[in-house]
Every structure is written in structure tokens, then in C-alpha cells.
């Protein structure tokens, strides 16, 4: 049996502004190593909220989250940031690069922060990740000057730089045209084949079909687990 990378138990989440709303109801789930899990659901079903809880960015919830055997719920702020840096790769809906840095620098930043390798090694590795995304010729361009599809691919390269235990993506194709969407599909496919563990929030059925498992969400509950 493969190793459990992520385990969430009895997650409850409330929004208090403007009124108190119960967003997530008793959600329990787990992700095995090498799994590609899609979370689907209508907008407002709580799928993104769930992803941000799992990613440790949102800490205001009840229940527990374990990643890679570590209880991340209740970790102190610094340890949490460090953990996120080392074990989680994040891809957002709106590419979200730092516009004043080059593509290469954007990819390098998380590794520089981790500080496990020296600058030269990190640069080499970042270049390699970009080459995988077929972006090495844009490495020294300011990321703000790249197209949307290119930026998203840089963001994926950045998510991979520290060889995370789990990659989380929030609608990675939500803001792209069909050609670029297809491109990103292929990249995620490749990532799965390389043995990466991935959780993706999406409302794109084509995208979700390629995953090993789809979690359907509605009204803050997981209704299908297949």
C-alpha cells in the first residue's frame, strides 16, 4: 500500500462576515502518494476554501490536517511557513508571479528561501524546470512581460522547485484559453506520470477526467468520493 501524503479529519469552517455561514461540514479525506485528485463543484460549494485549508494558508478552522505525517494544524506561524515552503507547491488561478522579477528568479525564490542548496545549484535546477515547461528561452525576461499561458507555466515550474510532497492547484486553467488549457493539461499529466501527488480544484470536466479520483462537493460537503 502506498503512503498517505495528506489526511484531513472533520474539517469545519465558518465565515463570520457579513453573517456567520457554515462553509465546510465535517469534511474528512485523504490522499495517497502519486494520486491526482480533482475537487469539483459549483462555485460556492466550498471547494477552494477546502483547498486553502489543506494548503495551510488558512488556519481558521476546526478539525485536523496532517501532511506527510506531520500535524500541520496548530503549528506556530514560522514552522508553518517553513513547512509550506518545503512540502507544498502551489499553483493559483491567476498565475500570480512577482512582476518585477524575471521568470527564472520567480522559480528560484522558494528554493532560495528554503536555503538547502547554494545559489548556483538552485539556478541550474530552476533552469531545468523551465526547460521542462519549454520556457527556458524566456528565463531572463521579466515575468510581467510574459503571456498568461507562459506565466502559468512559470508558476508550475515554481511550484516544483523544492520537489514538494504535494502540489495544490486552484483552477490552474480557469483563466486561460483552450490552447493554453490543453498545454497545462499535458503538463499536469506529465507531473502525475513522474509520480507527483496533486490536488486540483477545477470546474473543467475534461481536466478532471484525467485525474485518478474526483471529489464532488456541494454545500460544503463531499458528496461523491469516486
Amino acid at each position: 500500500m502506498s503512503q498517505q501524503v495528506l489526511k484531513a479529519e472533520k474539517l469545519n469552517k465558518y465565515f463570520h462576515e457579513p453573517d456567520t455561514i457554515h462553509v465546510l461540514h465535517d469534511i474528512s479525506m485523504s490522499v495517497e502518494e502519486g494520486e491526482f485528485v480533482s475537487i469539483m463543484g459549483k462555485s460556492g460549494s466550498g471547494k477552494s476554501t477546502l483547498l486553502y485549508l489543506l494548503s495551510t494558508l488558512d488556519t481558521q478552522y476546526e478539525g485536523t490536517v496532517d501532511i506527510n505525517g506531520t500535524r500541520v494544524t496548530g503549528l506556530p506561524e514560522n514552522a508553518m511557513a517553513r513547512f509550506r515552503n518545503e512540502y507544498i507547491g502551489f499553483v493559483f488561478q491567476f498565475h500570480f508571479l512577482l512582476p518585477e522579477f524575471t521568470a527564472l528568479e520567480n522559480v528560484m525564490l522558494p528554493a532560495l528561501k528554503l536555503g538547502k542548496r547554494d545559489h548556483g545549484a538552485i539556478e541550474q535546477q530552476a533552469m531545468e524546470k523551465l526547460r521542462k515547461m519549454d520556457l527556458h528561452q524566456y528565463a531572463h525576461k521579466l515575468s510581467g512581460k510574459l503571456s498568461g499561458g507562459q506565466q502559468q507555466r512559470v508558476a508550475i515550474a515554481r511550484a516544483l522547485i523544492n520537489d514538494p510532497r504535494i502540489i495544490m492547484a486552484d483552477e490552474p486553467t480557469g483563466n486561460l484559453d483552450s490552447a493554453n488549457t490543453a498545454n497545462i493539461f499535458d503538463i499536469f499529466n506529465g507531473l502525475v506520470q513522474d509520480g507527483n501527488t496533486i490536488i486540483v480544484v477545477t470546474h473543467d470536466h475534461d481536466f478532471a477526467r484525467k485525474s485518478t479520483r474526483i471529489l464532488e462537493m456541494a454545500d460544503g460537503r463531499i458528496c461523491t468520493n469516486g
Binding site: A81, N85, F92, F96
Partner: protein, 420 residues
């Protein structure tokens, strides 16, 4: 310790908005520059006044302050006092007061034995009248040992004509302030007549003129030898009214004076007590300068606070990304606080340079012609202390101004921003 990666992010942030960065720096630069200029000038002024004051004030002056002691009175004998009678005397007058220091030669000899005392200059002083035709001009005539007086006040440097030693070589010589000489219409070699309060008159030959740059010295004072003065007053050879001292360390004066007063039983004033008003003036100028400059820097600080706040508003997305990538709150604080500190550091150093250039230029500007004050250019003091204070001030203000926005940045909730 700051991570190289945080340093790098800070650098990119600063360089990507050069104009804002430079404007923020200029605020600090002008603040610090003005601080340096004002401090240097104010301190130069203070030094100048202090120099003038010290050029005519001995470190310690020992003299006989007459005491109104009415504990014994002759009234009882005159009115035949009885135990049950009250006799009230209004406005009593002393019978006789000697203002001289008794056993002055002994005191002088004792003072000269003390190691920390550099110069001991005895003095007989009295108000005299100089005759100029029908007019009589009043002046303070000091009988001194001119060599000691020279060591005390550096008379030699202040001679407009003649030399102080001329008093020793000539019979009945006198040194006049140049303004007094002008009023009396005399020059070196001419004769003047001085009249003592007792009515005794002596003729003196002018052997030198001096110029202190202070009206009280130049217009209302003259020097003769001790013996001539004693003769003019009709007193004996050991009649001394004051003893003035110069210490090796003038800062010891305030401590030393009371000790000497106790030892000899006479009054001893130190220079700080005598010139308390000048000291107060210095304090007021210093306070004024500090308050003004604090305000200047406060304004620069507000500028930085504003700019950093705007920068952070424009960088909310970047902050959210950095947090998602695993940068902790302290990293965010470092990144943004160090931007303010770099602005502060470079702005301050440029300000120090600007301040130095301005105060250097000021020190070359001629002082407006003035016959009462002997000064050629604006007085400026280049004390490095103010440069240190300026630097610390600059870093402190920018640090505080940058800390609040940086803390705010570190509290940004990444989820709210990343979800759009």
C-alpha cells in the same frame, strides 16, 4: 540575520520604483542636512560666545565679598540698653570695611604650590576717572602683575600696539583699551591722568593698546602695574583685592572653587557660575535647534510612512504570493522594514554630506562688519558628534516610520488576496 533572498527582494522592490525611493531619500537628506547645518552653526555661535566670555573670565576668582554682619552694634552703648527695652535700628551702616584679602601674599604662595593651578594672578582693582579736558571718563583700572595677567588672558595676542611687558620697563606705564584711548584721544607714548575715588591723582604714560572685541574691555578698562595701583589707592604693598586663577582643567573649576573658598575664608566664584546666563543662552539655542530638527525629521518620517504604505498597498499580491511560497511574517517585515532603513541610511549619509557642504560654505561667508564683535566669518563647528547624532536620528525615524507599514504587510491574509 537577514536572508540573502529577502535582501534580493528588497533590492528589486527599491530599484523597480526609483523615483519614489529617491523622493523618500531626499526627504531624509534635507532633514539631516538642515540638522547638521543648524547644529554646526549654533554650536559655532555658542563656541564663539564662550570664547569671548572665557577671554575675560578667570576660571576661579577669589575675593573679599563684604558681609553685612550687624550682630554687634554700638547702639546699645549710645542709648543705654536695658534688658526690657527693644531698640530697633533702621538702615544700619557698617563702620569700616576693608575689601582686600588679608594675608594675600601667603594665599598666593599657597596657591602657587598647588599642582592643578596653572596661573595665579593677583589684582588690585578700582573705579577711576580719566581726565579728558573738562570731561571725566570713568573706567575700571586694574593693577596687575602683567606677566601673570598675560598668561591668564593671553593679552599679548590682543595688543593693537605695544607689548604688555612695556608695563614692567616703563615708569608709570598704562595699557588702555583701544576705544578708551580713542575717546581720550591718546596714543602710545602720550600721557593720561587718572583720579582715584580718594582724590589721589597719578599721571601715566600709555605704553600699549589692546583690543578684545568686547566693549567692557576695550572702552571701560585699563591696566597698570600692581605697585602703581597700590600707590594710586594709597595702600600698602600687600594690598590685594582679587586673586584670579587659571586651572589646568577648567572643568574642575566648579568643584575647586568651594574648596578654595573654605580653605581661605573668602568668596571664590567659578567661571560657570559667573556666566550662568551665557550657559542658559546656549541651552536655549540647543533646545530650539533640536526641537526644530526633530520636526523636520518627523515630516520626513511621515513621508516615508506614506510612501511605504502605498508601496505595500500596491504589493498586496506579491506579499500573498511570498506567504504562499513559504515566506514567514518575519521575512515580510524584514523585506519592507529594510527598504525603509536603506532609504534612511542612504538618505542620512547623503544628508550628512549635504550638511557638511552647507556648513562648510557657511564657514566661508564673511560676517557683516561690526565694530563691537571681532569676527571675520560665520562661526561653524565641525563636531563629529552631530554627524553621529544625525545618522542615528535618521535611522531611528525611518525605522519607526517603516516599521508600522511593514508590520501591516506581514499581517496581510494571503487567502483573501489569492482568492480574488
Amino acid at each position: 540575520m537577514m536572508l540573502p533572498v529577502n535582501w534580493k527582494i528588497m533590492k528589486v522592490h527599491l530599484l523597480s520604483r526609483k523615483r519614489q525611493t529617491i523622493v523618500a531619500m531626499l526627504g531624509v537628506t534635507f532633514g539631516i542636512g538642515m540638522f547638521i547645518l543648524m547644529m554646526s552653526f549654533m554650536k559655532g555661535m555658542n563656541d564663539f560666545f564662550e570664547d569671548i566670555m572665557l577671554s575675560v573670565t578667570p576660571d576661579i576668582r577669589i575675593y573679599n565679598d563684604y558681609k553685612t554682619d550687624y550682630s554687634s552694634s554700638v547702639t546699645g552703648q549710645y542709648l543705654g540698653a536695658r534688658p526690657k527695652n527693644w531698640i530697633i535700628v533702621r538702615h544700619p551702616r557698617p563702620r569700616q570695611i576693608n575689601l582686600n584679602l588679608k594675608n594675600a601674599p601667603g594665599i598666593i604662595e599657597d596657591l602657587r604650590k598647588q599642582n592643578e593651578i596653572q596661573v595665579v594672578s593677583p589684582l588690585v582693582s578700582a573705579q577711576v576717572l580719566f581726565n579728558y579736558g573738562p570731561v571725566q571718563l570713568s573706567a575700571l583700572l586694574d593693577g596687575v602683575d602683567i606677566r601673570e595677567e598675560d598668561r591668564l588672558f593671553g593679552l599679548s595676542d590682543k595688543m593693537a600696539s605695544g607689548r604688555p611687558e612695556n608695563l614692567l620697563t616703563s615708569d608709570n606705564g598704562i595699557l588702555l583699551g583701544y576705544k578708551l584711548a580713542k575717546k581720550l584721544n591718546v596714543r602710545t607714548g602720550d600721557l593720561v591722568t587718572a583720579t582715584a575715588p580718594s582724590g589721589i591723582q597719578l599721571r601715566f604714560r600709555v605704553v600699549g593698546l589692546y583690543k578684545f572685541g568686547i566693549a567692557t574691555m576695550d572702552e571701560f578698562k585699563a591696566y597698570v602695574s600692581l605697585t602703581d595701583m597700590q600707590q594710586l589707592l594709597g595702600k600698602s604693598r600687600d594690598y590685594i583685592t582679587d586673586i584670579r586663577l587659571k586651572l589646568k582643567d577648567m572643568k574642575q573649576a566648579a568643584v575647586k572653587a568651594p574648596a578654595l573658598a573654605k580653605r581661605y575664608g573668602y568668596k571664590a566664584d567659578d567661571w560657570e557660575t559667573v556666566n550662568a546666563s551665557i550657559k542658559a543662552g546656549n541651552l536655549i539655542r540647543d533646545t530650539f535647534t533640536y526641537v526644530l530638527n526633530f520636526t523636520l525629521l518627523l515630516i520626513a518620517g511621515f513621508g516615508i510612512y506614506n510612501i511605504m504604505n502605498m508601496v505595500i498597498l500596491g504589493k498586496l499580491k506579491d506579499i500573498a504570493i511570498l506567504k504562499a511560497e513559504g515566506f514567514a511574517r518575519k521575512d515580510i517585515v524584514q523585506i519592507f522594514l529594510s527598504q525603509s532603513l536603506i532609504i534612511g541610511l542612504i538618505g542620512s549619509v547623503a544628508g550628512l554630506l549635504l550638511g557638511f557642504l552647507l556648513s562648510y560654505s557657511l564657514s566661508k561667508v564673511p560676517w557683516p562688519e561690526d565694530e563691537y564683535i571681532v569676527i571675520k566669518r560665520f562661526p561653524v563647528n565641525f563636531d563629529t558628534l552631530y554627524y553621529m547624532v544625525g545618522l542615528i536620528f535618521g535611522l531611528l525615524t525611518t525605522g519607526i516610520a517603516g516599521l508600522l507599514p511593514a508590520l501591516k504587510a506581514s499581517r496581510v491574509d494571503p487567502v483573501a488576496i489569492l482568492r480574488g
